[in-house]
């Protein structure tokens, strides 16, 4: 009888131990864990939609004429960077808000080349990536975001909006010799300053005739 009792005790004990172990351990594939690492809970798209017209495009109204900016950079790059560039932290990269009007020189696979005054300007239509538009605006600060990935996702949403809403209509209609008006962001490196054919990421671009 006591042997039977002992057996029952062992069976119940084993069941309890089994339940505890089963609930304590779980296995997940690495690729699932890797996907978790890239999950973002912040809704960057809604945030960008909410500021696009009311704040972002508004700050670009005060952009510098690109031809003027290039001339100023050629004369005194250091002071022009100090006065007009936006940058988030430490380093050589600065972002400028620029605008202008020009004539289309060529429509290429990845960009449209414009003649603006006596300068050749490249309007990006394919490689719209990076932080130029977000950081040139000066509106959004990294310290406002606990998660750096949230801050980075704002740029992704801004670029996505440009790719989907700003560029397609322009790309579909633009042709050589069209006159074009634009506003956008320009990234430059003050230690390695290259001013031949600067690349502008547009926030607004329109064929005016």
């Amino acid at each position: 009888m006591s042997v039977m009792k002992k057996g029952i005790k062992y069976i119940i004990g084993s069941i309890i131990a089994g339940i505890v172990i089963f609930n304590s351990l779980y296995f997940r594939p690495l690729d699932e864990k890797l996907r978790d690492g890239s999950k973002v809970s912040f809704d960057a798209k809604s945030f960008v939609d909410s500021i696009w017209t009311t704040e972002l495009l508004v700050v670009y109204d005060s952009a510098t004429e690109i031809a003027t900016l290039i001339d100023e950079l050629k004369i005194n790059s250091q002071s022009t960077f100090e006065q007009k560039a936006q940058s988030l932290g430490i380093g050589n990269i600065g972002y400028f808000k620029v605008k202008g009007e020009g004539t289309v020189l060529s429509v290429n696979e990845n960009n449209v080349l414009l003649q603006v005054a006596n300068k050749t300007i490249e309007i990006e239509t394919e490689f719209i990536f990076g932080n130029a538009v977000r950081d040139a605006s000066g509106l959004i600060k990294v310290s406002d975001y606990d998660e750096t990935s949230d801050f980075n996702s704002i740029s992704e949403s801004i670029n996505d909006k440009i790719r989907k809403e700003v560029v397609p209509d322009f790309r579909a209609k633009v042709k050589k010799n069209d006159k074009v008006s634009f506003k956008g962001a320009l990234e430059l490196n003050k230690a390695h300053l290259h001013l031949i054919q600067p690349e502008v990421v547009p926030v607004f671009i329109q064929i005016i005739q």
Partner: protein
């Protein structure tokens, strides 16, 4: 009477001089601040530059500085923090081993009144470190991603070698790269594996991947040490000329490899700039400043075959 006055005067003068000397020695001892430089690993040249520059910068500012190697081990890092606090260090210039695992160590120092300045790697808390001086890995890898797409002509098979899964830089770099590359559906990622930022592991991982995917066109690596390991694996199977390798860090061996047309590009981080900034922040803290920006991004610049002659390893 006059004699007595003179004697009293001399005794008082000697006493004042002795007191002044003692006081001055104490002040000197007090003013020699001690700075601990705790680095995730010294088994990687980039972190050696970071740690040595931080220590040298601290010494140039008049502080005593000691480097501690955490050997990528958060427990060892905890020991270093405990030792630094117990030994009376006044500030910690810190390169974390783990974005989550290192938070407790930083909090321990904060609770002991010791400011912590994170260098290069981030911790997932904004109320623990005094300031975090961080490479903008995301933006650097966006630039590399664009170059990658251009050089592969928007099509082909590629492999991504990730760094340590617990480090935020791993994900910032991966996300920056994919924020560009994923827009091109003809670019297929056939393998994505971690090699823990380690050269030898990367070589082993790449050798295994090449057995299954011998027809790849490009490899993006989360740091330069892994890029060198990957390149070695490609050399050993005679594919180094056909597969484009991209790294991240700006280490000397990769800069040389880009100059020699072996590798395509890397993201130039500036470990010396990061370290000097951290040491300067410690000095400002000692001088009474408290309102530091929690996160200070340091820009990353892409070095490629077209501009490599404008750069030196590890930046300026």
């Amino acid at each position: 009477m006059n004699m007595i006055n003179y004697r009293l005067f001399y005794v008082a003068l000697i006493a004042v001089m002795i007191f002044s000397c003692t006081n001055s020695t104490d002040q000197q001892r007090d003013s020699q601040k001690k700075v601990a430089v705790i680095i995730s690993t010294l088994n990687n040249p980039w972190f050696v530059v970071l740690g040595e520059t931080a220590a040298n910068s601290a010494k140039e500012l008049g502080f005593e500085a000691t480097i501690f190697d955490s050997q990528n081990n958060t427990s060892l890092e905890t020991d270093h923090f405990e030792n630094a606090i117990a030994s009376g260090y006044d500030a910690i210039l810190f390169n974390p081993t783990d974005a989550d695992g290192s938070i407790a160590n930083v909090r321990m120092a904060k609770n002991a009144g010791v400011p912590v300045f994170c260098m290069d790697r981030e911790i997932n808390a904004t109320d623990a470190a005094t300031s975090q001086i961080l490479s903008d890995s995301y933006a650097g890898c966006v630039a590399i991603g664009k170059y990658f797409v251009e050089k592969l002509n928007k099509k082909g098979k590629y492999v991504e070698i990730l760094g340590m899964v617990g480090d935020n830089n791993t994900w910032s770099r991966s996300k920056g790269f994919h924020s560009v590359v994923d827009h091109y559906t003809d670019l297929k990622m056939v393998a994505q594996q971690s090699a823990d930022f380690d050269r030898n592991k990367a070589m082993e991982v790449m050798e295994s991947i090449l057995q299954v995917h011998p027809d790849i066109n490009g490899v993006f690596c989360g740091n330069d040490a892994m890029a060198m390991g990957v390149y070695q694996a490609l050399v050993s199977v005679g594919k180094a000329d056909r597969v484009m390798v991209f790294g991240f860090d700006g280490a000397d061996d990769v800069i040389n490899s880009i100059q020699q047309k072996k590798m395509m590009a890397t993201g130039m981080q500036f470990p010396k700039l990061i370290a000097r900034t951290a040491a300067n922040y410690a000095q400002e803290y000692f001088n009474g400043k408290r309102d530091f920006a929690q996160k200070v991004p340091v820009t990353v610049e892409m070095v490629n075959r077209e501009n490599v002659n404008e750069y030196v390893a590890f930046g300026e």
